[in-house]
Amino acid sequence: MADLEELYREIILDHYRNPRNRGELDPPAIRVEGFNPLCGDEIVLSLAVTDGVVTDVKVGGSGCSISTSSGSLMSAAVKGKTVDDVRELLATFKGMLSVGDEGEHDPSVEPTPVNLRSLGELAALQGVAKFPVRIKCATLSWNTLAQGLDEIAAD
């Protein structure tokens, strides 16, 4: 049960019950859909980037406590940051969850030692690393964000 309390920290339950930045943005903000094909969770991310800065982000769709709170925490964390900083944050976040280059999680590998302080509230999701199946929940919003950033970069 100790692990379970690690997973469902208060801050996570709070972001699950009251997700920040819910909704959709109007164009020219771009819209990206993400699926967790294994469980049916869907996320719809709206993303506005101006001059290399994420000026606004909104999150729609529905998911479990982990994916919802992760999306909420992410939206709060990236707003106002430069795209480069966001990408760095993403890498740090995945490092915390021991997600490898190919997106796979290897439980035999220690989590990358990351600067948890640099993650701020996002560090609350640290407990997910002990629940390999839930890592996809925690990374869904981030992968969808990365896809959005790639689309914008490709334009």
């Binding site: 469980c39 049916g40 969770d41 919802t68 929940c137």
Partner: protein, 414 residues
Amino acid sequence: MAAVTSLDVATIRKDFPLLAQVRDGKRITYLDSGASALPPHQVVAAMATYQETTHANVHRGVYATAERATHLYEQARIDVGRFIGAAKPASEIVFTKNCTEAFNLLAQSWGLANLGPNSAIVLTEMEHHANIVPWLQLQTRLGFEIRYLSVAEDRTLDLSNLDQLLDGAALLSVTATSNVLGTVNPIAELASAAHAAGALIAVDGAQAVPHASIDVSALDLDFLAFSPHKVYGPTGIGVLYAKAEHLDAMPPFLGGGGMIKDVRLDGFLAADGPQRFEAGTPPIAEAVGLSAALAYVSGLGLDAIHAHHRSLTTYALSAIASTFGDTVKVQGPADGPNRAGVLSLTVDGVHAHDIAQVLDTYGVCVRPGHHCAKPLMRRLGVNATARASFGIYNDRDDIDLLVEALQATVTMFA
């Protein structure tokens, strides 16, 4: 002798070492047989014995071991055929890699030969992706129409427009039991309606075959697919039954060794019978395991299994209703003879993932998600359920623990 009406669960459990394990002070309460049943020791031992004492490739060897392996493999085909009441057990069973491949074979062989831009087939809103996606793929190629029987408010199939949907259709492909709702569909009635309309009927038996005896001859089914790993058999094998008159007319699907009469550099001649659809080395050890699994469940008695699951279902539905009122919903029809032991739970404000996660801390294994039935999920207006499904090793204690764990979940997320 009196009809057997109950299973001796305590004795049965001894055949399943996994259930005797204790992790973190808890034993495992396995309520996920709808996803995959546990294989009993008898199945595991049959496979191991085959692998250690009789393994050889089949069909082409002359030496005694190869002959024996071939015999075991072909005997498994006959065992499966008999188990489902096939008229020609040696000629109407194709071994595939899983139930899903069986539907792909049906679509890409029978479908490709019999459907065209002006054809139509009928599916239902409650189908598993295995009985939807292969048809969508073929539709992209051939352009036929796919019609869907809808799911009524009481979570049974809405049959009010059945004849209309069947009109001009070439095939009705329908699940015998919903893997989400536990709805048991009226297959006999659907088969006669299909045939009356000049259509064939294919049945997804993945959830039904483990729970009640299905007789393809009595039901007059044209095709039946099922999953050995859900009937206490191994992974790596699937079954397609096709009435000989259809099978014999179906063009090949996968190509390679074993499915040919002759190959030249510019063409090939396909073999006859089930072999035509079994390209390459087949799942030999798995066929042996499947035989053992069917012997195992036949030994318990399909009627006894059915009665056992019915009784657990009634107990569970009433325990959940009386404990939780409207807080925990069971997505599916009310209790009754056509209600199978598949309980899809939803709790407002608590996601299925989180239910399953908390239940795991009690050792209770249920499966969260869309259960490969996304169209049905949309129809139900949920994006996931936490599904508990029963097997021969479950008893009322398991359900009591499920209820207790659900209570903790509800409290935690309140």
